[in-house]
């Protein structure tokens, strides 16, 4: 099933996809154009942990002139960087290189009430509740070599669109063989496949859970392949992953 979290008639509510429309909790079907899309997540009792990978596709690492890492390059984000499908992300005035990153995103679950702690690779999929798509924008002008990528690059307000759907894990039999692509104003600029990840999902869950407990609702953004290009105000960016969804975002200039 594909889950969404939306604002409709002034209320935040959960919905599911039904025949290309949104099925609300009260049984009504509404068009995708009639709602405001939020990140497709249910609230968590504590702030969710958002892990994001850098350089997790060999071709992207080459593109950025880095050798492939020997262990995951990971950084954290706060929730205020998330925004929904069909939202707007600001490009500050005067920057030279702001690019999208299309990323398969894992929504962590639990196994019979037990959170993910010291999970073995063979059991990792038991702790995945679902998947969504992230566009992990970066503004390279702000990169500094201190805890890089630094938060000024990666944790800006509304700089991480997420959605449109959260797809149940059972509906994605092989997340390690999904086509990813990005279009800018309809033109294909990025194309890859999750099979080319350096560190696959079972590895990542085993690795992170070896030192930190992952709780239901936590997210892992798993990195992006080759093919990032600069985005200008007005550009419409669609980051799409096979079987998960197509996430639309528009770049907005500085007010």
């Amino acid at each position: 099933m594909k889950h969404a979290r939306i604002v409709y008639e002034g209320l935040v509510q959960d919905a599911v996809e039904r025949d290309g429309q949104l099925l609300l909790g009260d049984g009504r079907l509404v068009s995708q154009d009639e709602v405001v899309w939020l990140p497709p997540l249910t609230p968590t009792p504590r702030p969710r942990t958002i892990l994001a990978l850098g350089l997790n596709y060999a071709d992207h690492a080459r593109e950025l002139e880095f050798k492939a890492p020997e262990e995951p390059l990971v950084f954290l984000k706060g929730e205020s960087t998330l925004t929904g499908h069909r939202g707007f992300t600001r490009r500050p005035a005067g920057v030279e290189f702001m690019h999208y990153e299309c990323e398969l995103t894992v929504v962590i679950g639990h196994k019979r009430g037990i959170p993910a702690k010291k999970v073995r690779r063979d059991d990792a999929y038991d702790f995945i509740a679902g998947y969504t798509v992230a566009n992990d924008y970066a503004i390279r002008d702000y990169l500094e070599n201190w805890y890089r990528p630094n938060l000024r690059v990666k944790n800006r307000d509304g700089c991480t669109p997420l959605g449109p759907w959260r797809v149940d894990a059972k509906d994605v039999p092989n997340p390690m063989a999904l086509a990813l692509q990005t279009t800018v104003n309809g033109k294909l600029t990025q194309s890859g496949n999750t099979r080319d990840m350096i560190f696959d999902l079972p590895f990542l869950i085993e690795y992170f859970s070896s030192f930190m407990t992952l709780s239901p609702g936590d997210l892992i953004l798993t990195g992006t392949p080759d093919g990032v290009v600069d985005c200008q105000p007005g550009d419409v960016i669609v980051t799409e992953i096979e079987a998960i969804g197509a996430l639309t975002n528009t770049i907005q200039g500085q007010a």
Binding site: P47, L73, W146, Y147, N155, D157, F211
Partner: protein
């Protein structure tokens, strides 16, 4: 009820003049190549939070833990005035924190595997209201390990004052009500090991105490 954060907890590296001086000789060399311009932040996610009095489990592979004693700002609703120098008015309270790390010498990559271990952030039991806590530039604290004073910190030595730090962070991200931003951890951070009792005390704050225990195999 003990205070625990309701928002994201951010820490800051290099916000004491002593830290900057200690690293200055390395800053122009690779991998850093330059001194940092924006505040250098990291996140302490919810799995790291330990209440006052809690035992903190240390994995067997970590022989010593670095104690980052600090005071953090707890954000309230945004201040009406939007000028950067007024950002400090949006601080609702201050809280003691014991920001534990696996010691690490390189600050090039984000410190997730060093700072985000379960329980690695002791959180003071009490958030002291900003109007009671007074000027953060006059805060001081002491770290005791097994009763012995091991570090004294004077927040008059901040590189960016609380107000400046908030303003510079707000330039690129909004801190929401409930989010927490630490003021920084000075050099001379003590090391502690399993069995040690770490106490962080500061005038006007209830002492924060945590004990390190061996993680169960």
């Amino acid at each position: 009820m003990n205070y625990l954060p309701t928002g994201t907890v951010y820490g800051v590296l290099l916000n004491f003049r002593g830290e900057l001086a200690a690293l200055a000789p390395q800053m122009s060399a690779p991998p850093y190549k330059a001194a940092p311009k924006a505040p250098v932040l990291y996140v302490k996610p919810a799995n790291t939070w330990s209440a006052d009095g809690a035992a903190i489990a240390v994995p067997a592979r970590v022989p010593q833990v670095e104690v980052g004693a600090t005071i953090a700002m707890v954000l309230g609703p945004p201040a009406q005035a939007q000028r950067p120098q007024d950002a400090i008015k949006s601080v609702a309270a201050y809280v003691l924190m014991n920001d534990l790390s696996v010691p690490h010498a390189s600050f090039f990559r984000p410190p997730v595997k060093y700072k985000c271990l379960d329980g690695f952030l002791g959180v003071g039991a009490e958030a002291v209201a900003a109007d009671q806590a007074g000027d953060p530039g006059r805060f001081t604290l002491q770290v005791r390990i097994n009763g012995e004073v091991r570090q004294s910190v004077d927040f008059g030595n901040l590189a960016r004052s609380a107000s400046q730090l908030l303003a510079d962070v707000s330039e690129f991200m909004t801190l929401r009500a409930g989010d927490v931003l630490m003021l920084g951890c000075d050099t001379g951070r003590p090391l502690a090991r399993v069995g040690d009792r770490i106490e962080i005390s500061a005038p006007g704050f209830q002492t924060l105490s945590n004990t390190l225990v061996a993680e169960e195999a």
